[in-house]
Amino acid sequence: MKYLFSLPLFCCLLAPLAAQEAYLPWRAENFAIAAPLGGLQGDAARGRAIVASRERGNCISCHLLPIPEHPMHGTLAPPLFGVGARLSAGELRLRVVDEKLINPETIMPAFYRDPARYHRPHPDHATTILTAQEVEDVVAYLVTLR
């Protein structure tokens, strides 16, 4: 009975562990990842929020995007206007997941790379940058940029 009270506390302590989902392996073929990560369905509206958010995607820190309500987009990387017309969903997915497979010299972070391959990651950030669902959301948004 005494231990019953500590059960909620125990659950709270475990919660952050549960929030960290397992890394899903993916396979690139022909410069694209054709299948959605984990078969998940992306949502373009959520993707737009992730792209603009400083904490999550932070894409606008380098890319110019049609998100006028946020000022100060970076100029470090190519603008992404019309990128959905130039590249397929699979090609976009690979570029979000790990651009280094296309350009090994790139500055662009890999947003869904095996965390075991990071060099000296901070313990607070030893996960993929985005979750699989977030990657799919971002891809769903980028496809709409025509």
Partner: protein
């Protein structure tokens, strides 16, 4: 024919990459910040210089003070000598940063216990001493015994780190002049350090800045005063050879 073509290609003047001409971070500051750095009364880093000066004149454990040997305002210190740090020290068998030199001097001549790296008192003293050489071009000799540290610092500078998996080289060599959000990327030179940073509202040492850079890349930083950061310091100072010392500079 082919040989002639190859020879012709070899004779073409090689365009030097932009980063081989060092440009101080000062040039990348907005006008107001440049004015703030130039004006001794506006520059908030000058408080640290004054604090450093007070420590410089304060008696140590055995009653001596830095000023006792080097003059009240550090007039006995050689400006050109300050600009040569980090130097190779036979006693240490490796590089000796200005920070360590001051700490050693306190220990040997004031009978003080050595302070740990980046302790506020040492940062103040370093800021004061480097400020004495303001305007003096950085002049670190890495052709001699410092070469191995220069090389490993250079390797560290080009190593991708952290969750963002970028290196210093990416931002501060390859994408200089471009904008990350509203911030223009500069060449990442060390000539303004210890510098007053607007982000923290205080004077930060070079190693403190390294630690922040590592945090930005979501990487696990090395310890301040570690062999890795000292090697990086040797590389960065030598990379910015010729730039005027701006301590205390104003940086983001």
């Amino acid at each position: 024919m082919r040989r002639v073509l190859l020879a012709a290609i070899a004779l073409l003047p090689l365009a030097a990459p932009a980063w081989e001409q060092p440009v101080s971070g000062y040039a990348y500051l907005p006008e107001q910040m440049q004015a703030m750095q130039d004006d001794e009364f506006e520059n908030p880093g000058m408080y640290t210089v004054e604090d450093g000066g007070t420590l410089f004149r304060a008696p140590g454990y055995n009653g001596n003070s830095c000023a006792g040997c080097h003059g009240d305002n550090g007039s006995g210190l050689d400006r050109k000598g300050i600009a040569r740090y980090p130097v190779y020290s036979t006693r240490h068998g490796g590089p000796l940063t200005l920070h360590q030199r001051i700490n050693d001097c306190r220990e040997q001549h004031l009978d003080e216990f050595p302070l740990t790296y980046d302790e506020p008192e040492l940062i103040k003293l370093e800021t004061f001493v480097r400020h004495l050489a303001r305007g003096e071009p950085v002049n670190v000799d890495v052709s001699g015994p410092l070469k191995p540290w220069y090389d490993s610092g250079k390797a560290l500078y080009h190593t991708r780190i952290g969750q963002l998996d970028m290196s210093c080289h990416h931002c501060h060599d390859r994408y200089v002049d471009l904008k990350l959000r509203d911030q223009v990327l500069n060449q990442g030179h060390s000539n303004a350090f210890p510098a007053h940073r607007l982000l923290t509202g205080g004077v930060s040492s070079l190693h403190g800045k390294f630690r922040d850079c590592y945090a930005t890349l979501r990487a696990l930083p090395y310890e301040v005063g570690s062999e890795e950061f000292i090697a990086l310091e040797v590389y960065l100072h030598a990379r910015g050879n010729g730039l005027p010392i701006e301590t205390p500079g104003i940086r983001r």
